[in-house]
Symmetry: C2
Subunit: 263 residues, 2 copies
């Protein structure tokens, strides 16, 4: 966003170059000079293909805009390292599936001279396969006022639908939206191979939903279920309601099918 | 299918003029002279709009082709009445969501001088709202050889995708396809209003699947869960797997999110 030289692109440092960091690089390459850091050496080929320079986290942290795309498990460590290296006036943006705890960490650990915006692109590599235009992204202003400029960039340059929210409101909805999708997908995958021929339209939709999340990294499920403070309540409610329905059906369906019910 | 007079359409008698009987009349009106019977007087307006003559079940049962679209609860009574009135050479077709038990009833109760085909259109008024072309229908030959001619009619005249099956194979798949869709929809509806703004593509698919079945008649859910001999096993397996996952999550998620896991 910040550009000290009108002939030079601003620099973007991506901390965590997994599936999402790479997706971001693919769509931001024409707007930024990108460097990235990842603890795994296996990302080298992807970085080369995307024209991204791999470097140390310390070096990535000196960019104009820093995108944190690290898993929840290493998030606080990464933020801590960025905190000691980032430059005054930098914009720091995260992209995780949960927002309350990461936002608290960023607010607490990052120096007051940087701006912070927490975001959650409501899509992954799977749903972005045919382009990201029209897809949704949640944007939560945390510190500073550059969230408005970021939102305009996301809308105009990337064509995203921006949903301004707070970390808490985001997590309440995400606990249902992502929590339930992943729970249902996990149960259905355990049922074994699902029919693909003798299917209804509604079942096809269900199968498509399952196939969209079944290849998500385990970290995504962990983040959703473990790091979202509202996930446990939603999960318990879902399992309780399933158990209630199960019990009701066992009782109700014991009565015979008959012709004289008058229904 | 049978036409005694080249200048006259064959007659079609619809036994049960609910949502599905009416949908059938809408799509078959140009191919047949249609009469229908329904115990409820509330269908009169729909019949008039569709140009269908309402009459007694006995009279409906004298048509060239008889379509049984009665609920599971009155199915055997309706078949019994058709059995005493139907004419030799008639083709009798049912359209319920389950096939094993209704096929047995038709085979047992209907006279040997009629042909029988059990079908299950894998769609309802909701999914047929934008036309039925390309939608699926399961066709199970029960008695006689006219299933081939019926399948050709369904393909060519109505544009349906015909899936030839047996009642047992149909019910095994339907127990998963329809059973799980309805179970998941019921649990999700009990969760209360679902988010519509901050959503992912996979959750939108899930919501769409729920909305497609939520207005289905209670008889549909009853037929699927009660009259499909494979439904109970599928249902128990789903609820057992949900309970297993619930227990696993309660244990696994008790371990803290940490930075030194080495993942």
């Amino acid at each position: 966003m910040k550009n000290n030289n009108r002939f030079q692109k601003p620099t973007l440092g991506i901390a965590g170059f997994g599936a999402f960091g790479q997706l971001a690089a693919r769509h931001l390459g024409q707007h930024f000079e990108i460097t990235a850091h990842d603890p795994s050496p296996s990302v080298a080929a992807s970085a080369k293909r995307l024209g991204v320079t791999l470097t140390s986290l310390r070096s990535v942290a000196r960019a104009d805009v820093i995108l944190i795309a690290a898993p929840v498990s290493s998030f606080e460590t990464v933020v801590g390292e960025i905190a000691v290296a980032c430059r005054p006036g930098a914009l720091i943006v995260d992209v995780g599936s949960v927002k309350t705890i990461p936002s608290d960490i960023m607010r607490r650990r990052l120096p007051s001279h940087v701006d912070i915006v927490a975001t959650h692109p409501l899509f992954g590599p799977q749903s972005a396969a045919r382009g990201i235009e029209g897809l949704k992204i949640a944007v939560c202003p945390i510190r500073g006022s550059r969230h408005a400029r970021l939102a305009a960039f996301l809308r105009k340059a990337l064509g995203l639908t921006v949903l301004i929210s707070t970390p808490e409101d985001h997590d309440k909805d995400a606990a249902i939206v992502q929590g339930l999708t992943h729970l249902i997908a996990k149960v259905l995958l355990r049922m074994g191979p699902l029919p693909t021929r003798m299917t209804t339209k509604s079942f096809d939709l269900l199968s498509e939903a399952v196939s969209m999340v079944q290849h998500d990294a385990p970290e995504v499920f962990e983040a959703i279920e473990k790091a979202n403070p509202y996930a446990e309540t939603v999960r318990r409610r879902f399992f309780d309601l399933a158990a209630d329905l199960s019990a009701e059906l066992e009782t109700a369906l014991r009565t015979p099918i008959c012709d004289d019910s008058g229904r």
